[in-house]
Each structure stands twice: as structure tokens, then as C-alpha cells.
């Protein structure tokens, strides 16, 4: 029904609204000719972006944020995967731990900032511990449901073949659950970035989040907005790269979902 021409047209439509908003901002700014400490016009944001890109602060901050997010993600995702797989296999264990998990999961991850500060002080370790806590739960839940929804016949096959629990995890459970586990990884990765930035905004003097805060405090709206745009681009790239990998690896096996 839809021919390729229409498709490109529909794609172009997506640019109209943002371009119109940016031009409007530019025009309003030019007409009023005021210097604001709150907001800056697009061309100044662009200039600020190129400045911080040239002097290296942008790359430093990006690397710090990504390092904190990815280190935390690898711990949180790894542990979540492990426990999730166990709970998915053993409904007995799952039911026993149900209440404990629900209680601890209800805690907003950010509430651990004060404890992490007590234990680790400022720095990477504090940031990654909170990211690890935050990514642990979505991984756990998604892995659990991925594993528990494996065709029971496959587990019977594994039992008939006399596999032990470790062998059946490696040979049957993980491969069968892999597509959905990858979805868990994608969601956990976006959680990791969100939490890392939040920790930086709230407390940790590191990375893009801290850059945003200090730009605001030193009344440099152009730099602040440049960092915000950059952050959106980083988040989008991370998400798109994982989506692309997911499609390449599993094709039609995974479903698209709209959740964060």
C-alpha cells in the first residue's frame, strides 16, 4: 500500500516540527535582543557545543558518564541475569523470594545515594554501585519472565537427556531466552545512562550530569543546552545501536516494545 516515495515523505515530516521550533526560537531571540541567563538561542548553543567539543571537556565528561554507566551496568546486568535465570527455572525459589524482592525493588534507586556516599565517598564507585542496583531489577524481572516462559517441553528434553542444572542453563535455558534477555540488556542500558546522569546531577562531581549542573550554576545557558542536546544524542545513539544489534541478531524473534 505505501510506496517508497510516501515513506521518505513521511520521514521528512519528522524534521518539520523541530526545525520550525528552532527557527522560531532564533527569530524570537533576534527580535527581542536580550541577554538571558536562563536560555540561549540555537546558534549560541551550537557555538557552545563546538567550544566544549574542541577543548576536550565534552569527551572527558562523556567518557566519565559512560564509564560509570557501563561499569554499573555490567555488574547489575550480570547479577540480575544470574538470579533471574535461577528464579525463572525454579518457581519454588521465585515464590519464596517474591515478597523480599518486591520490598527491596520498591525503593527508588536514587535513595541509595546517601548510603553510597557514606561507603564510597564521591567518585566512580559510588556512581556505579547505584547504577548496578538500578539495572539489577529490570534485568532480574525480564530475565525471570524470559526464562519462565520457555517452552516446558525443552526443559523436559533437558531432563530426559540427564543434564544437570548448570548444563541445562547453558545449553537450553540461555539460548532459548536469549532474544528476550537482549531486550533486558537494551532496557537496562538505557536505565544505566539515566541513573548515571541522575547521580551526577544530584551528587557526584563527574561527567555530563555534573557538567549540566555547573553550567547552570555558572549561568552559561548555551553550554547547558549544548550538553543537554549532546546527552539526548548519546542516549539516542546508545539505544539505536542496541536496537540495531537486536534486529541483526534475532530478527523477527523479538517483538518491539515501547517501554523504557
Amino acid at each position: 500500500m505505501i510506496n517508497p516515495g510516501q515513506h521518505t515523505l513521511a520521514r521528512l515530516r519528522g524534521f518539520i516540527v523541530p526545525l520550525a521550533l528552532l527557527s522560531l526560537a532564533e527569530i524570537v531571540y533576534a527580535m527581542n535582543d536580550v541577554h538571558s541567563e536562563i536560555i540561549a538561542p540555537p546558534h549560541e548553543v551550537l557555538r557552545a557545543l563546538s567550544t566544549i567539543a574542541m577543548d576536550g571537556t565534552l569527551w572527558n565528561a562523556t567518557m566519565q558518564t559512560l564509564a560509570g554507566a557501563m561499569a554499573g551496568l555490567s555488574i547489575g546486568f550480570g547479577l540480575g541475569l544470574l538470579l533471574g535465570a535461577f528464579l525463572g527455572i525454579s518457581s519454588f525459589l521465585d515464590r519464596l523470594l517474591f515478597v523480599s524482592i518486591e520490598i527491596v525493588r520498591a525503593l527508588p534507586s536514587i535513595a541509595f545515594i546517601p548510603i553510597a556516599m557514606l561507603i564510597f565517598g564521591f567518585g566512580y564507585r559510588m556512581e556505579l554501585s547505584i547504577v548496578a542496583f538500578a539495572t539489577f531489577w529490570p534485568t532480574l524481572l525480564l530475565t525471570r519472565s524470559a526464562v519462565s516462559s520457555i517452552e516446558p517441553r525443552l526443559l523436559e528434553v533437558s531432563r530426559a537427556l540427564g543434564f544437570g542444572i548448570r548444563a541445562s542453563i547453558w545449553k537450553i535455558v540461555l539460548p532459548a531466552a536469549l532474544p528476550r534477555v537482549f531486550v533486558a540488556l537494551r532496557l537496562a542500558a538505557s536505565v544505566a545512562l539515566i541513573v548515571a546522569v541522575t547521580v551526577e546531577v544530584t551528587a557526584n562531581p563527574l561527567g555530563l550530569g555534573y557538567g549540566l549542573m555547573s553550567a547552570q550554576q555558572s549561568l552559561q545557558p548555551a553550554t547547558m543546552l549544548a550538553l543537554l542536546c549532546w546527552l539526548a544524542a548519546v542516549g539516542w545513539t546508545l539505544n539505536s545501536a542496541l536496537l540495531w544489534t537486536e534486529k541483526r541478531l534475532f530478527g523477527r524473534m523479538t517483538s518491539t516494545d515501547f517501554t523504557r
Binding site: 523480599s100 556516599m117 544530584t202 546527552l231 539516542w236
Partner: protein, 254 residues
């Protein structure tokens, strides 16, 4: 079946209690420094003390209030805008790409902008919560509105239903599962952003309480705050799950 499943709650609670005992044992045995991890008794005492002084329940209520207002605000905007975008494929083709670009942006990243506009005020906290919690609801509503079974539109046409009747009798109910899931996610985001906002803007609430307790090494007070936050998160999500079960009871019957 249902009775058997709900019976499992008893051993499950017992396991949770066992974890608390383990916590107590670990602290008593000095396996962890009490500076970081107070014993359950001292946490309990801190809770009692806080409530007796009247400070803690006030902070709890402030946090609850902020979270609730921010969430309601986000629900209204998110669902209304989502319904508008979701019901027209033309509007969707104009806005969806921008939304996709903004979606992975951490909500906390807009805090500096909110501070720039509102200062370190309650308004800034509310704006942040509202903005952050809006996304899951907006996206879920768009999804729900745009994925109504086309057969039902044909049915409404064949029955000669009015446009408003189609929205209220067909589109809204079929988008409801998505909307409710979005609202649940939005509630989690609200609580997180409430705590962040209180920490940053020093607004009276549990977020500020745990931050101050942490800074002055009062770990029992810190843990008392965590217990209350967990209670808040748990009860709000249980409430929403209950509401969801009731509203979507047609899904669970067999």
C-alpha cells in the same frame, strides 16, 4: 489455583523476615560497620523516634504529596497529548521522530533547566516530576491509541456510532491496558524524581531527610527514611496494580 498461589505469601514473608534476621546477625557479629549498616532494632528505634517527634510523618506526607501531584499532572498531560497524537496518523508522522529522539533523554537532565526557570523551589521539583513522568504515559497512550483493532473501527462505522462515542466506548477502553501500564511506570519515575528534587532543592521531605542523615553519619535515620520510601513505593504500586486488576478484570477471567 488462586488460593494455592496466595498461600505462598506466608512462606515468602517468612523468608523476608529471615533476611531481616540475617541483617541483624550480620550487624551484631560486626561483619559490617554499623556506620554503614545499622541494626534492624536501631532502624526501628529511629523510626519510632522520628514519628514521636512528629518530624518524620510530616516529611513522609510532603514526599507523598509531591509525588502524587507531579504524577497526576503528568497523567493529565501525558494522556491528553498522547490521545491527540495517537488518534491521528498525520500528527504522528510529524511528531513521532522528535519524540523518539527525546525519549532516551534522562528526565533528570532537565533538572538544571527547571532550576534555571524556577529556582530551587517547589515549582521546580513539581515541573521536573511532571516532565519526567510524562514520557512513559505519553508513549504508552500513543501506542494504545494507535493500536486499536481496526475491525472495531469498522464495527463502529457499521453501527453508525458518533465520533465521541467511538472514543469513549472503543478507543479509550482498548487503550486502557497500555495507559495503566504507563501510569504505573510513571509512578516509579515520579518517586525517583521526587527524591532527587528534594535532595537538590533542599525541600522538606524524605529525600532531604536521608541526604542530611547520610551527611551527618546518622545511619539509623537514613535507614528509617529508606524504609519509609520503600513503603511508599510498594504501597503506591500495589494500589495501582489493584486498580489495574479491577479495571481490566475482563482480561484475567477464564
Amino acid at each position: 489455583m488462586k488460593a494455592v498461589r496466595s498461600l505462598w505469601i506466608v512462606p515468602s514473608i517468612a523468608v523476608a523476615v529471615a533476611f531481616v534476621l540475617l541483617w541483624k546477625y550480620a550487624v551484631d557479629a560486626r561483619m559490617v560497620s554499623p556506620v554503614f549498616l545499622p541494626s534492624p532494632e536501631r532502624t526501628w528505634a529511629a523510626l519510632q523516634h522520628g514519628f514521636a517527634a512528629g518530624a518524620l510523618q510530616l516529611k513522609f506526607l510532603h514526599t507523598l504529596e509531591r509525588m502524587f501531584y507531579g504524577w497526576i499532572c503528568a497523567s493529565i498531560f501525558g494522556i491528553a497529548i498522547g490521545a491527540l497524537i495517537g488518534s491521528s496518523s498525520t500528527i504522528r508522522s510529524y511528531l513521532q521522530p522528535s519524540l523518539e529522539l527525546l525519549r532516551p533523554l534522562p528526565a533528570s537532565a532537565v533538572i538544571p533547566i527547571a532550576i534555571a526557570f524556577f529556582g530551587l523551589s517547589d515549582g521546580m521539583v513539581l515541573a521536573t516530576i511532571c516532565f519526567g513522568a510524562l514520557w512513559p504515559m505519553l508513549l504508552a497512550t500513543i501506542h494504545g491509541f494507535s493500536s486499536v483493532e481496526p475491525r472495531l473501527y469498522e464495527l463502529s462505522e457499521a453501527l453508525g456510532m458518533k465520533r465521541t462515542a467511538v472514543v469513549f466506548k472503543i478507543v479509550l477502553p482498548s487503550a486502557l491496558p497500555d495507559i495503566l501500564a504507563g501510569m504505573r511506570l510513571g509512578m516509579t519515575v515520579s518517586l525517583i524524581l521526587t527524591v532527587v528534587g528534594e535532595m537538590l532543592a533542599s525541600r522538606d521531605g524524605l529525600g532531604q531527610w536521608i541526604l542530611l542523615a547520610g551527611r551527618s553519619f546518622r545511619s539509623p535515620d537514613l535507614f528509617a527514611g529508606l524504609v519509609l520510601l520503600a513503603a511508599l513505593g510498594l504501597s503506591s504500586s500495589l494500589l495501582l496494580i489493584g486498580l489495574e486488576r479491577w479495571l481490566l478484570r475482563w482480561r484475567t477471567v477464564h
